[in-house]
């Protein structure tokens, strides 16, 4: 028989991980952040349980600052697939009026993402949450387990991780503890794109170049997605742009591009000279910032 390619093996490993969680954990949920990695993760979940639907809901932590197209895409996909979608927004943050323009990216991310995620998991009693993080994204991720165990309060202790041998995952936990599960741990950015291409996985239009209204905001091209964007002294220009990652629109830099087809954006990604996280504002703190954030409960 034909030998398995690296994508086949990655696919099978991810499916195995998801089935293991579904079998052993009583309250799993899949964190769906609408981006390309989430799209791949969702596709793998559909495959893992076919002809059943994935036996867990999707959950999106909505900061209220996501691109409008992301929200539309999210709602449409969940409906088409017949999957339960839970959307959570931190009500405290909303009451406080937290936003990246007024409160800065660090505070916004903490309140509307990190705290909101913890709230949502606690609120619904989820004790296992799938996330689309990959080990190749960032140095401290390289050592995180596929089943990443969290103490009560969602804290991650990098020095006290469970050993993972073979494909045997220990899912046992006490009440109040939880596990973050990363089925894409062993995928690289190139694998993700190749798989999207091979499988014909649908991703939001924001990844494709189009004429969009943007401003040059402190050196980054930010799309004017709604009227909350403070425009004092800034000129809105219409440019052909696209996004390499999707998040809160004020924190997501656009790149000028004319790549409007999947092969074209893959080509651009492959030929680009900077890693994808560079467009994210969250990493530009000190070197160990991601490790610190994760200890506090960030995905």
């Amino acid at each position: 028989m034909e030998s398995l390619t690296h994508l086949d093996r990655l696919e099978a490993e991810s499916m195995h991980i998801m089935r293991e969680v579904a079998s052993e954990v009583d309250r799993p949920v899949m964190l769906y952040s609408v981006g390309k990695d989430s799209s791949v993760m969702l596709h793998l979940a559909l495959k893992a349980f076919y002809p059943s639907l994935p036996p867990f809901p999707l959950m999106h932590v909505d900061t209220t600052w996501k691109f409008r197209d992301m929200i539309a895409f999210r709602d449409r996909r969940a409906k088409e697939l017949g999957l339960e979608l839970i959307v959570h927004t931190n009500p405290d943050g909303v009451a406080e009026g937290v936003g990246p323009f007024t409160h800065g990216s660090a505070y916004h991310t903490d309140v509307m993402k990190t705290q909101a995620l913890k709230q949502a998991l606690d609120l619904h009693g989820f004790n296992a949450a799938f996330g689309g993080a990959r080990r190749d994204e960032e140095k401290s991720r390289a050592k995180e387990r596929i089943f990443s165990f969290r103490a009560p309060g969602h804290r991650w202790d990098p020095k006290n991780q469970r050993p993972e041998l073979w494909n045997i995952y220990n899912t046992r936990m006490h009440k109040g503890e939880s596990i973050r599960v990363f089925p894409l741990s062993n995928w690289t950015e190139l694998d993700i794109w190749q798989y999207i291409f091979r499988e014909g996985i649908e991703i939001p239009d924001l990844y494709f170049a189009a004429e969009r209204p943007v401003v040059n905001y402190e050196g980054t091209l930010i799309m004017v997605d709604d009227d909350r964007m403070p425009l004092d002294g800034l000129t809105v220009e219409t440019k052909s742009v696209r996004f390499r990652t999707l998040g809160c629109y004020p924190l997501t830099g656009a790149v000028e591009s004319t790549a409007a087809t999947l092969p074209d954006i893959i080509k651009e990604t492959l030929l680009s000279t900077s890693s994808e996280r560079q467009g994210r504002v969250i990493d530009s703190d000190q070197a160990a910032s991601m490790e610190k954030k994760k200890q506090e409960g960030y995905f």
């Binding site: 099978a12 349980f49 059943s52 993972e164 045997i168 220990n170 890693s275 560079q278």
Partner: protein
């Protein structure tokens, strides 16, 4: 992404063609072993760099970091790229397993990078468990070290059969041929009993890049491939010829018309129409379909995640293993295995742990620590317990049979991890060598007459009445009265009494903690057989330890274990001293006497508690029979 000029041109011209070529890549997982001093991190950093897997911003930040913290002056310190966690960057050591990814035209690689010191044996075993090949680094100046032997042994134990001995830092010995050949000869002599199929020794320098991606002109005496070329071409392990094994992970039941069994094929291949047998249930059927979202497959092989449907409606669940009918996996509950301990708290033989295999979790214990293995000398040494990072040959005793293959034949179906029942931590990892039961290959027959049928014939439901309490508390007296009443009512009973059993079945056992555990295990198993015969069984044993009573409880279906605590205070029992044993124990003539110098752990939630101070033996018997009547045990 940083790419070579060829790739760049290809992508520019025909990105679809490029993607298609890269789609057909295979995958190789390997581990690098060696210490910081051997240049391991430098080697991995070099592979990533030379394979052009770094973005320019990563290279820029690496260059900046190198100047700030690096040990290579103005040159790039590749180790900084690899040592991920902040704590490690500060301490300058690698303390965990990190996974790195790079790929070439031909292959994608997943590298497990683990520390080399003895206190990180567990980390190395973790990395080795999924690796098909190991790159062992040695410093050309130092030659084989203790750690080289340790790493080789761990790799061999974890089933790695392909080794690259990377004789590194050849630049520091002027690429001396004699030195290289000495080290190679030493290693081949040492490794001849470790079961490696394929050993390649390469003279190299990670720092200067010699024999890493391109052949070095400084080693004309070496005519083998450079490291990367070897990694690209070495055959990737795939157990296609082995018998078919599908550990069932999840039963796929979207509606009443579909019942599939999902799992990842561990070995072998399967086609629709192939006959199968499920182990340990022993049920047989034929594969009907191999279902995937992309359509049914005509064949499925190793590492594929699939869903099988069968011709017959047979009961298979998670924990079962679907096997080719003519070559089923073995099943057993007693094994000889090798165990690596991974926790600070030592492993104690006799203590209950959970054993998790590919798809099953079963309580059990290490019944015997045969010998420890010195990871540095491979010498056997005696021991009673197993500490962190130690490896031993052990016997295991599980509470239920599992399907398995010897690890040497199948890494997926021969491996297990050990879980602490209190903390839920993963405390050990093991490899099954063989079953300790000769009957392991006998597949259980489907029984036409079951326990329900037998019990129904007797108009009763089977039950195990477990009388626990101090010596002299009145267990046997009460049990005898209960049996007499049940007999009068026309019920079918049996009685197992501590003293009597110790004269026969258990006469080889003493009163140490380990023997007490074994004593209870045998009695519980015997009682279970009697339950299967439909009997109401009275077991009258001091059974001082909660864990062992729990073990007995776990053996039987819910509701059939009735724990009766015959609760007599020690002073009262000692005062009665029917058999004169307490006097002897106090006088030191009997050792390990429960209540005197051996602990009694009272049940926390017994089904019944009989206080013999307030209640006569007759009243106690009446209470128990009433409990059986109320519970419907006497009216089936």
């Amino acid at each position: 992404m940083a790419l070579g000029e060829n790739d760049r041109t290809l992508i520019e011209d025909d990105v679809v063609g490029y993607l298609q070529r890269h789609e057909d890549k295979s995958l190789l997982r390997f581990i690098t072993c060696g210490s910081v001093d051997d240049g391991k991190s430098t080697l991995i950093g070099r592979l990533l760099y030379d394979a052009q897997m770094l973005y320019e911003d990563q290279v820029a930040s690496l260059t900046a970091d190198s100047k700030k913290q690096g040990t290579q002056g103005q040159d790039i310190d590749f180790a900084l790229l690899v040592d991920g966690l902040a704590a490690e960057r500060e301490q300058g050591i690698t303390i965990d397993v990190a996974y790195r990814f790079f790929s070439t035209e031909k292959r994608k690689f997943i590298v497990a990078d683990t520390p080399g010191h003895e206190q990180y044996t567990r980390n190395m075993a973790t990395g080795a468990s999924t690796a098909e090949l190991a790159v062992l680094l040695v410093d050309a100046r130092a030659g084989l070290m203790t750690q080289t032997r340790r790493h080789s042994f761990i790799c061999s134990s974890l089933g790695i059969r392909k080794i690259v001995l990377a004789v590194n830092k050849m630049d520091l010995v002027d690429f001396d041929q004699k030195r290289f050949e000495e080290i190679e000869a030493d290693y081949r002599a040492f490794a001849k009993d470790l079961g490696f199929d394929d050993i390649l020794c390469i003279p190299m320098s990670a720092l200067t890049g010699d024999n890493i991606t391109t052949p070095s002109d400084k080693t004309p005496y070496y005519d083998g491939p450079p490291l990367l070329e070897h990694l690209e071409s070495v055959s990737s392990t795939r157990q296609e010829e082995a018998p078919f094994r599908l550990p069932v992970q999840w039963v796929n039941r979207p509606n009443l018309d579909f019942r599939g069994f999902s799992g990842t094929v561990a070995s072998g291949s399967i086609k629709p129409g192939d006959p199968i047998i499920a182990i340990p249930s022993g049920r047989r059927s034929t594969v009907s379909r191999i279902v995937t979202m992309d359509g049914d497959l005509q064949e499925a092989g190793p590492l594929q995640a699939v869903t099988l449907t069968l011709e017959d409606e047979i009961d298979i669940s998670r924990g079962d293993m679907i096997c080719g009918k003519d070559s089923p996996a073995e099943q057993s509950d007693q094994f000889s295995a090798r165990l690596l301990w991974m926790a600070d708290d030592a492993m104690l033989p006799g203590r209950q742990y959970l054993f998790k295999t590919a798809n099953n979790t079963v309580p059990g214990q290490v019944s015997k620590l045969k010998h420890k293995i010195d990871v540095n000398t491979l010498a056997e040494k005696p021991g009673k317990t197993l500490a962190l990072n130690e490896i031993a040959a052990v016997n295991l005793n599980l509470s239920a049979p599992i399907a398995f293959d010897p690890y040497e034949e199948n890494r997926q179906t021969g491996s297990f991890v050990v879980i602490d029942r209190q903390t839920n931590a993963t405390v050990g990892a093991g490899m099954i060598d063989f079953s300790l039961r000769r009957a392991a290959n006998v597949v259980w027959q489907d029984l036409e007459v079951g326990r329900e049928e037998r019990a129904a014939l007797k108009h009763q439901r089977p039950a195990m009445l477990w009388f626990t309490g101090l010596s002299g508390s009145g267990k046997s007296t009460i049990a005898n009265l209960v049996e007499k009443r049940l007999y009068d009512m026309g019920r079918h009973t049996a009685i197992l009494d501590g003293d009597n059993v110790r004269h026969g079945l258990n006469k080889d056992l003493g009163f140490t903690d380990a023997d007490r555990v074994e004593n209870i295990r045998r009695v519980a198993e015997t009682a279970k057989l009697m339950l299967d015969a439909g009997l109401i069984v009275m077991v009258s044993f001091i059974s001082p330890f909660r864990d062992e009573r729990q073990m007995a409880r776990n053996l039987v279906p819910d509701g059939e274990f009735i724990e009766i605590h015959v609760d007599t205070p020690l002073e009262v029992a000692e005062q009665r001293d029917v058999k004169g044993l307490y006097a002897k124990a106090r006088a030191g003539e009997i050792k390990n006497f429960t209540g005197i110098d051996s602990e009694y752990q009272p049940p926390r939630h017994p089904e019944l508690r009989i206080n013999t101070v307030d209640m006569t033996a007759e009243e106690a018997a009446e209470t128990i029979v009433q409990h059986l009547t109320d519970g419907g045990y006497l009216s089936a």
